[in-house]
């Protein structure tokens, strides 16, 4: 793609900003990066909007001359902190890509345990392995933009990147998933007796899970003005245990449960 020095694209006569972008992964499943190449239909158009200069999962060439750095994954070790800080220095815009980067993701469930030694022993026995508490990218360096989701929704990333290239403001929905769920005319999970965090979780996934008849786990974190306390109360009234509610809320790290 670097070979393709595509002539500068324009929109309504205004040249697009074709940013040099880099992808970096920290502690994660790398699924969000995979999502970036997962929309086969629009992939080429998408790639022509940016110049990928660093994408270890897909290419051998590397360069530090990037403007936008997409950071996938959470931060758990000192060497990761160092690497992240170096990236922050290079990047004009640092984007937290996916729930691990935004909130710590499922990885932060480790932080539930006070005793890290116990955690290590659970997995590695007596063998020494370096690990610390899981942190979101924003807890280590300033973040310019968050792209929520576990996994991220490709359509949303495409829109965000297109808007960046066009110079439009980036807007993410402030309202909750419930709004999208209704537009999709799903049967409400609560009618089916299942728990769902749709009413308090930030929309943008097009109610991915409820569309499948599965309750939302809040992977995109809280909606603006989410009434979490009352939601807990409702769930209790609907017969869900404290544990079920908590396990939903703390799963991806977006909701502060303590």
């Amino acid at each position: 793609m670097r070979a393709k020095k595509a002539d500068t694209k324009t929109y309504l006569g205004i040249p697009l900003y074709r940013p040099k972008v880099a992808f970096f992964e920290f502690s994660s499943c790398e699924g969000c990066q995979l999502q970036m190449v997962n929309n086969e239909n629009t992939l080429l158009d998408f790639l022509s909007l940016v110049e990928v200069v660093n994408f270890r999962e897909a290419m051998t060439e590397r360069s530090d001359a990037y403007e936008i750095a997409f950071i996938e994954g959470s931060i758990t070790r000192d060497d990761e902190v160092k690497r992240l800080k170096a990236i922050r220095k290079n990047a004009k815009v640092l984007v937290a890509l996916g729930s691990c980067a935004c909130f710590g993701g499922v990885n932060q469930l480790k932080n539930r345990f006070k005793n890290l030694e116990w955690v290590k022993k659970q997995v590695y026995g007596k063998h020494p392995i370096d690990t610390g508490a899981v942190r979101a990218v924003g807890d280590v360096v300033p973040v310019n933009l968050m792209i929520y989701g576990c996994p991220i929704k490709k359509e949303e990333v495409e829109k965000i990147v297109l808007d960046l290239a066009l110079g439009k403001s980036i807007v993410v929905p402030q309202y909750p998933v419930c709004m999208e769920c209704k537009a999709n005319e799903n049967i409400c999970l609560f009618d089916l007796g299942e728990p769902c965090l749709g009413p308090i979780t930030r929309a943008g996934c097009n109610s991915w899970c409820p569309n499948s008849g599965a309750g939302c786990w809040g992977c995109r974190g809280p909606a603006e003005d989410a009434n979490v306390e009352y939601m807990k109360k409702i769930m209790k009234e609907k017969g869900f245990s404290e544990k079920t509610i908590l396990e939903r809320l703390d799963c991806f790290g977006g909701f502060k449960t303590k």
Binding site: Y11, L12, F46, Y175, M179, E185, D191, A226, Y230
Partner: protein, 348 residues
């Protein structure tokens, strides 16, 4: 108005005649809830047996057929720095609504006032509304509906024909010539005295079943007076600000507009999305100022729009009393209770 009666089995024939050349939307069972009660929804149907004419109420109104959740208002072709705009009102085939309850018909009538008969009629709505053929049917009042209090338990216009169950037969009111012509395809007869008696009996039976009442006397004025009432704050604390009430409401029509550029940069579109006044950004303006930053002020606004502002503008409320918003609200915020609390000065 012209009245007729016909044997029950004729309705199926009628459906079958209609389905040959038309798209039909009707109440069907979309699933079952955890107590195994059916959940109904309006969907396109081609088999008469799938239509559940004895449905209680649908979770969501038939809104997607006249006010879609998402709709492109216009599209643009972009080339050489210039643009061309195309408008499509997104209605290309007429639709038959088979079995709308009076409340839902009245909801359309109310929407007509603002979207059709006001200073700027909305063509997207008009194009769909003018291409509807509506077969109304009497409902069985549910414990949560209060349409009677809102004066929308019967529909006087806004449909093509309306049927009432008389036991062995259906009683039909024919409002339009289209309906009259369509009905030529089935066997029917003029109602006799005993049919009238049966009809009146059916009506009074139904009337007895309205249980929930809302006191609407002077409501617009009382709302005006109680603008600062404490009860709003209490309801606001419960509100999830999820927009479900608006989505479930047959008359909520507020929306937002977003413009997007196609990823290939060759086109763009302006899309309308139904919004809800309970959502945080409803009244937020550039620079971040929010005229209704608090949940309770937004919730209150929904009541003011429906029960006061609309009344001032059109001499009737924008609520038909279908009770859907209260039924789908997880917090259980129900119109009758909210209004009673405003009148009584406290939440029960």
């Amino acid at each position: 108005m012209i009245f007729r009666v016909f044997e029950k089995k004729e309705l199926k024939n009628f459906f079958e005649v209609l389905t040959v050349h038309n798209r039909i939307v009707g109440p069907v069972e979309a699933g079952r809830d955890k107590k195994n009660n059916p959940i109904y929804s309006f969907t396109e149907v081609s088999d008469f047996n799938n239509i559940k004419l004895d449905y209680t109420t649908t979770k969501l109104p038939a809104k997607r057929y006249f006010l879609p959740f998402h709709e492109d208002l216009s599209t643009f072709r972009i080339d050489n720095g210039d643009w061309q705009k195309t408008i499509d009102y997104n209605a290309n085939q007429p639709l038959i609504f088979f079995g709308l309850h009076p409340c839902d018909i009245n909801a359309l009538n109310k929407l007509d006032k603002v979207l059709l008969h006001s200073v700027y009629p909305m063509p997207y709505y008009a194009a769909k509304r003018k291409n509807m053929f509506i077969i109304g049917i009497d409902c069985v009042p549910q414990p949560f509906c209060f349409c009677r209090s809102m004066g929308s338990d019967t529909a006087l216009h806004g449909f093509d024909m309306f049927i009432t169950d008389l036991g062995a037969k259906f009683f039909v009111e024919i409002l339009t010539d289209t309906a009259y012509n369509f009905l030529k395809n089935i066997k029917k007869e003029e109602p006799r005295e005993k049919d009238h008696v049966l009809y009146m009996k059916a009506v009074s039976e139904r009337n007895k079943k309205f249980t929930t009442k809302v006191d609407t006397t002077d409501l617009a004025k009382i709302l005006d007076m109680e603008f600062q009432s404490e009860v709003w704050k209490q309801w606001g604390d419960k509100c999830l600000a999820c927009g479900t009430c608006s989505n479930a409401c047959p008359t909520c029509y507020c929306y937002g507009v977003e413009e997007t550029v196609d990823i290939d940069l060759k086109g763009a579109r302006k899309t309308k999305m139904l919004h809800s006044c309970n959502l945080i950004d409803f009244a937020e303006v550039a620079g971040g100022h929010n005229f209704r930053a608090e949940r309770h002020s937004r919730l209150k606004y929904r009541y003011y729009h429906k029960h006061r502002g609309f009344v001032e503008a059109f001499e009737e409320s924008l609520c038909v009393g279908c009770g859907r918003c209260g039924e789908s609200c997880l917090s259980g915020i129900k119109v009758p209770e909210v209004i009673a609390s405003v009148r009584g000065g406290k939440v029960k």
